[in-house]
């Protein structure tokens, strides 16, 4: 078992290292790199243009002194830390960014970036908020426009064949991640909750082929590890906006619980579903990205609730911790609606409002512990 565990540990570390060493890995690649900040960015198009899409995490900037000079402090801390990284030159290796029009904060990121670093290639991709046939058609024209801009900027031709290939490569990642989460659900492999988060982040970091290869090995190895840990309870689903606090996951685990899934962009939301490979690629991409409109910035909160309930059933969730970044108006408003609906279903919910880095861990810890004590009914 020990050798198996060591092997497994190595496999996991190889994947999470893609995230941890992302700057060195990306810099070493000779294809152009394009940053993105929302999971509603159709990465397939960027990939088909011969670029390496990667998520900007803003993770390296714990203080946002430069960005705070350009933006007011009451703006999304994720956006603020992304801007800080950009202004600090951490993304100078990249060839630009595509910013999906998800929320006000991301639009302000686009504005400030474009204005103060006018030589950078920054493209705004509009994203409809009400989803129907008309807005899907509009989103297709937005994607066509993005393709035209990329073709000119990078002197490439995005062929139908390249798009179809990109779709299949990205679908492969999605299916692998879904298999990983199914295993997490059924056999509870000896993997820490934060590793799942870093593995999702690794998927976002590119290079995609390497991720797919390593993840294939991991999901093939995992079933051999069986039920190696007692199933932890309560099983918690983390919901909300941008979430990447390993401390919060650790506190849940120290209390004897586990994170069953994350209804967040660095979690299930990123890899759920697949793009229909039998359809015309752009139409299939529009369907995929707009049908998974479960972010609080998008309008249909009923759909978001149904999505939460589906995850609660699929991952046998006992309780929900809803984490919103400070000043995320979309989630702060959404929470009250979701809380009411979850209470009707008798699902306990804890609300946490945090900064980018969980600086007030003492209080957050007390809240989580008290919540779990109440859930465990003693």
């Amino acid at each position: 078992m020990d050798t198996l565990n060591t092997q497994l540990r190595t496999r996991i570390t190889e994947i999470t290292d893609i995230h941890h060493n992302r700057f060195e890995i990306l810099k070493a690649l000779d294809r152009p790199k394009i940053g993105w900040v929302s999971i509603y960015t159709p990465e397939e198009i960027l990939y088909a243009a011969g670029l390496i899409p990667y998520r900007i995490f803003g993770e390296t900037c714990t203080k946002t002194t430069k960005a705070s000079a350009y933006m007011h402090r009451n703006i999304c801390p994720y956006v603020l830390s992304c801007l800080e990284e950009v202004l600090a030159g951490k993304h100078d290796f990249a060839d630009g960014a595509v910013i999906a029009n998800v929320c006000d904060a991301r639009r302000r990121l686009f504005d400030v970036w474009k204005y103060f670093r006018s030589n950078d290639f920054v493209h705004m991709l509009d994203l409809p908020k009400e989803i129907d046939a008309t807005t899907k058609a509009y989103f297709i024209t937005e994607m066509q426009h993005l393709m035209a801009v990329l073709e000119e900027r990078f002197d490439v031709k995005i062929t139908d064949q390249a798009l179809r290939h990109a779709v299949s490569v990205y679908n492969q990642s999605r299916e692998l991640m879904q298999r990983l989460y199914d295993l997490r659900n059924d056999i509870h492999p000896p993997i820490a909750g934060e590793d799942y988060m870093f593995m999702v982040k690794a998927a976002m970091t590119g290079p995609r082929e390497i991720f797919n290869e390593k993840m294939t090995q991991l999901v093939e190895d995992l079933p051999r590890h069986g039920r190696e840990q007692p199933v932890a309870t309560p099983r918690i689903m983390i919901c909300g906006s941008y979430f990447d606090h390993p401390h919060i996951i650790r506190v849940i685990e120290e209390m004897g619980g586990m994170v069953a899934c994350e209804d967040t962009s660095n979690g299930v939301k990123y890899f759920e579903g697949t793009v229909d490979e039998d359809k015309e690629p752009l139409a299939a991409l529009a369907d995929y990205y707009l049908d998974k409109a479960t972010c609080a910035a998008l309008f249909d909160s009923g759909k978001r609730f149904d999505h939460m309930m589906a995850l609660i059933r699929q991952y046998k969730v006992d309780a929900v911790i809803y984490v919103s970044l400070k000043f995320c108006d979309n989630n702060l408003i959404d929470f009250h609606y979701q809380q009411k609906r979850l209470a009707e279903k008798k699902i306990p919910v804890l609300f946490l409002e945090t900064e980018r880095m969980a600086s007030n861990m003492g209080q957050i810890r007390t809240r989580i512990q008290a919540f779990l004590e109440a859930v465990m009914l003693w």
Binding site: E353, S359, N360, G362, Q363, T366, R367, Q369, A370, E373, A374, L377, W378
Partner: protein
């Protein structure tokens, strides 16, 4: 069966020894100071001495408060939220809502069946509306913290303190002192800031009567009276509200042993 609850709070460390027939055999309160582990151990031995017991007599110890996971004699650590609910429920079984204002936190807890926590809310990482806030203001006014309540009863006029932030409120108080505003009026204004914060928290959770108040600030008669007036109800307050968390911890320790 003898159980002990130790509440290692941000300002004070509290201990309670609970015996059979729900009798409190001993209790102690001491300042936490810079080293919560040391003050925790001191209070633990103090309560044992006061109850005339030795460590061997104790069935189980539950610790709570900010320093709860840093005490060597702890059998289990439980949050102050769960402990306050258990402590208040032990003293007042019909209470449905607790307003707890401690040294660093203010919180509202809704209690369900059997003293179980149904819902709770805590203040943000900010000292406004907490015991620490009163401590800062007492220092600025050069009066003793424990005298604030009595001082506030010397007048029925209040001045408006508009700032919710401890640091800004202190500045505001200093300006009022410079303008020769009578100290009792300032103190009443300061108490109203605490009352407002409490009212906001109660509003967020939804107030269900009867309401109990716990935590060190419940010792301040000025805050209690102002709260009762504003909410239009009578607050249930333990004889020693600072001990509620430690008492709850001892009650939980007992429940845990009975379950085994």
């Amino acid at each position: 069966m003898i159980t002990i609850g130790i509440d290692s709070g941000s300002l004070a460390t509290k201990g309670v020894v609970l015996g059979d027939d729900k009798k409190i055999l001993g209790s102690a309160i001491d300042l936490t100071g810079g080293r919560s582990r040391k003050s925790g151990e001191r209070v633990y031995h103090q309560v044992l001495d006061r109850a005339g017991l030795s460590e061997q007599d104790v069935a189980f110890v539950v610790t709570t408060g900010y320093g709860r996971d840093n005490l060597p004699f702890s059998g289990k650590n439980v949050t102050e939220i769960t402990c306050h609910a258990a402590g208040v429920h032990f003293l007042f079984p019909d209470v449905a809502t607790i307003l707890d204002i401690g040294g660093q936190d203010s919180k509202v807890i809704r209690i369900g069946n059997g003293g179980r926590v149904e819902n709770f809310i805590m203040n943000d990482k900010c000292a406004a509306g907490t015991g620490r806030f009163l401590e800062v203001i007492a220092k600025a006014l050069e009066v003793r913290l424990e005298d604030l309540g009595a001082i506030s009863q010397q007048t029925d006029k209040n001045v408006e303190i508009s700032s919710m932030c401890t640091v800004f409120a202190e500045t505001e108080v200093v300006s009022l002192v410079a303008e020769d505003t009578p100290v009792p009026e300032i103190v009443r204004g300061v108490h109203n800031v605490i009352v407002e914060r409490g009212e906001i928290l109660l509003g967020k959770i939804g107030l269900v009567e009867p309401v109990a108040m716990s935590g060190g600030v419940a010792l301040n008669i000025g805050v209690v009276k102002a709260l009762e007036k504003r909410l239009g109800l009578e607050l249930r307050i333990a004889e020693n509200p600072q001990l509620t968390g430690a008492l709850g911890a001892a009650v939980i320790a007992r429940n845990l042993m009975e379950k085994r």
